[in-house]
Symmetry: C2
Subunit: 470 residues, 2 copies
């Protein structure tokens, strides 16, 4: 990263202009500075950003960019040709937008779904909508046909231990919350295999369904037989549960062509506006570019990727340039466990002290309701001031504890402040990892508000005299 | 219909007992009777019904019966083997329940879906979820591949008249209401064919989608070329609309094995409790037994059929017997335009003067919020009193104008009073005619309330001294 010799932007706020002129390079005075006043001096800039996006020339641009991108590429699972196309697309789009863009290599998993299907044979024939789970092995070409044992929990599974061998386990666990219930998708196959099951069919992890199967990653346990694992719909899991509850013999055939190929070459896509004063210091904004191989990956996480790009566009459009570098990173292979982000971390952690704030949007780009933040009490004080600038966007200035984001997790665990977007996401898991994750769930107005918020937070933090205190 | 020689049930209300004993056979006094008082005298009986269903031995029975039925049979489209099985199932189940059951023959349409599928070829390959529409012709075996013209309304279609020939018309009409928007599903193909289109793909008629296609009947216009017609998802219609809006050439291939076979033999399934005083006079309760060939047909209209049976069971369980006959009719081939019901009407209309009230539940068996009623002002006055008995079920005693129901339409048009169930149906069209119409959308408590309401209304009307005034 080299110093940029373009003339620094001088903020329009008189206070800041004075502060900048007077104190430039004099670090010792910084501790006495009134952070509240300093942040408040960005009110005009924040309002310019908000105006540009909510009612100015950038209005609906986030939505248009996301639509152009996901309509053109479609979904883009780790290792796929579509993901390569997506990276090329974003590299060119962000370059044409006038940003400094480069690609950073990463090795990523390459699991392919292949042909797949499931059907109930007894007590009556019925096609079962299903989606194999990422990392699952396939079945023999003729499929696996076996009697089903339906369980409602891991405890229930154990209580039927003598009845599982040679069977297909159907997990019909109720949806409690994603974070709690996803354990069945993640670990169901190995837990069933320990008792001799030949396959696992897991009720999709969603609070609502229109016979919609949801995919996702699953983890085999070391030393346990790898059996095929797929998600079926809430409806079919409940159907088989009712049938088994009546003492009926339920037989299912599942066929999966799934296999894992050698790791693929991929890239994290990085675009930035270099800081005029501390180009080596970074505010990182991010979303992940990969998705599952269903739907359009618009919500998870095209939106997060696009608003991270958009935030940089907005700052550039306004002719702003922060003290520190604003860097948008579009991660690769998040869905396989933050694989691209982990490699970025491993490569860049040597510069950890220069990471001011890491931001990720991966919970949807619906109407924003709060900024989530992880950092020291001192950093929280600063961010409490920053969110006050967001009132015109959210009608609230809520700062919530605990930022979320698989990809920024390593940084936050190492003590770097992190931020994420809390949005009105009551329907997020209705669409998550399903064919329903499309542009139809996105709204231009909501995306504008997310982009404006993202730009204000990132720019102000990147431009404050001091980095956020650890 | 012959007189039943079982001893008539004498209601527990002293007023009624007196009235019955004193006035039996003396029609001339009836005009002086105070209907409000007479109906109010059924409060105890109504509460017995409600208690039996909401907290007594009949609790959850409607749901269990519907689950047993739809889990066992699955969906049951007109002309299918499943529909035959469904009729046999209900004949036996209602007979075992101790009701008088018989079947009345009807000839019904026999349309079969066959293998079908659609895919976008350009600008990028994508599978399109679709469901062919009832009565549609099929495509040649290799399918129909053509460029798409996307329209948002019939007016929009006409404005592009010069651009339709040889194309597949995609109707991307917004959802306004089912009754308004269904015109695109019903008439879209013929309107497109008039301008030379080779197929019509219509956005599913639903306000909400998780990439869910919805089927339904469509009508070819006489003298217009019959082109294949199918519904695609809201998401895919919007996707192609955005693509076309960008000037992109969109090419789709649709393949449908649909065909219409000769009409099939079927039956309306009729169960009854004969009236002790006027067995020839009838209160008819109904729902339709057929469904589309997707989902379980639990909501549309398994629930309506089951509560019509259940209402009779409840009356029987309480040892009640009304003056007039309570007749549950489970219609066949409603989805093809009330085909079974029309034949029943044609056969029974000669006895029209004996039809006291025709009831149908075909808008879901969710939480009831009102009784819908079509009848003279004098009849409305009576029904206003009857719905007062429903307060413990609905927390309201709302009587709304206009009963709805394809199958009871002919009777109502001929002047017979009609009643239907208004339920909390905000999500009804989310599932309607889709794979999402399963037991998972039903709740035992809501079904109990529908059954209790159905039983109270039918029994009280069937037992009043007089038929409802025309």
């Amino acid at each position: 990263m080299v110093m940029d010799n373009r003339r620094p932007y001088l903020p329009s706020s008189p206070l800041l202009f004075w502060t900048c002129s007077l104190l430039l390079g004099c670090e010792c005075v910084s501790t006495q500075r009134d952070v509240a006043k300093e942040v408040a001096s960005y009110t005009d800039v924040a309002n310019q950003i908000i105006k540009l996006v909510l009612s100015g020339p950038a209005q609906k641009r986030s939505y248009q960019r996301l639509a152009n991108f996901t309509d053109t590429i479609g979904n883009r699972v780790s290792g796929s040709h579509n993901l390569e196309l997506a990276i090329k697309y974003m590299y060119h789009a962000m370059s044409e937008d006038g940003l400094d863009v480069h690609l950073e290599p990463a090795k990523i998993p390459h699991w392919v779904r292949g042909e797949e299907g499931a059907e109930m044979i007894l007590p009556r024939p019925k096609r079962l909508a299903m989606l194999g789970l990422g990392s699952s092995v396939g079945t023999p070409p003729e499929g696996i046909e076996a009697e089903v044992v339906v369980v409602s929990s891991f405890e229930d599974l154990k209580s039927r231990a003598g009845n599982v061998s040679g069977r297909i386990v159907v997990f019909n666990q109720p949806f409690v919350s994603y974070s709690e219930t996803v354990a069945y998708r993640a670990f169901g196959a190995s837990e069933a295999a320990k008792l001799g099951a030949v396959a696992a069919l897991i009720r999709s992890v969603t609070p609502f369904s229109i016979n919609s199967p949801h995919t996702g990653w699953q983890d085999y346990q070391e030393g346990v037989t790898r059996i095929p694992a797929a998600c079926i719909t809430v409806e079919d899991a409940q159907l088989m549960s009712r049938m088994a509850g009546r003492g009926q013999r339920v037989v299912v055939r599942v066929t999966m062509g799934a296999k894992t190929l050698p790791d693929a070459d991929s890239f994290n896509t990085v675009a930035e506006i270099q800081g005029w004063q501390h180009p080596e210091q970074v505010v990182l904004l991010s979303g992940h570019l990969d998705s599952w191989d269903v739907g359009q990956g618009a919500m998870d996480d095209g939106g997060g990727a696009i608003i991270s790009w958009e935030a940089l566009s907005i700052i550039k459009d306004l002719g702003l340039r922060p003290r520190r570098t604003m860097r948008a990173v579009l991660w690769t292979a998040e869905e396989q466990g933050g694989v691209g982000a982990q490699q970025y971390y491993d490569q860049h952690k040597v510069n950890m002290s220069n990471y001011d704030l890491v931001m990720e949007s991966d919970l949807g780009t619906f109407a924003p309701v709060a900024l989530q933040f992880t950092g020291s009490q001192a950093a929280q004080k600063v961010m409490q001031e920053v969110v006050k600038l967001l009132a015109p966007i959210m009608n609230t200035t809520r700062l919530e504890p605990q930022a979320e984001g698989t990809d920024i997790g390593p940084w936050m665990q190492a003590g770097v402040p992190g931020a994420s977007l809390h949005v009105q996401d009551s329907r997020y898991f209705w669409f998550h990892h399903s064919e329903g994750d499309t542009m139809s769930v996105q709204s231009p107005g909501d995306m504008d508000r997310c982009s404006a918020l993202w730009a204000v937070v990132a720019y102000v933090v990147a431009d404050l005299q001091d980095m956020l205190p650890r």
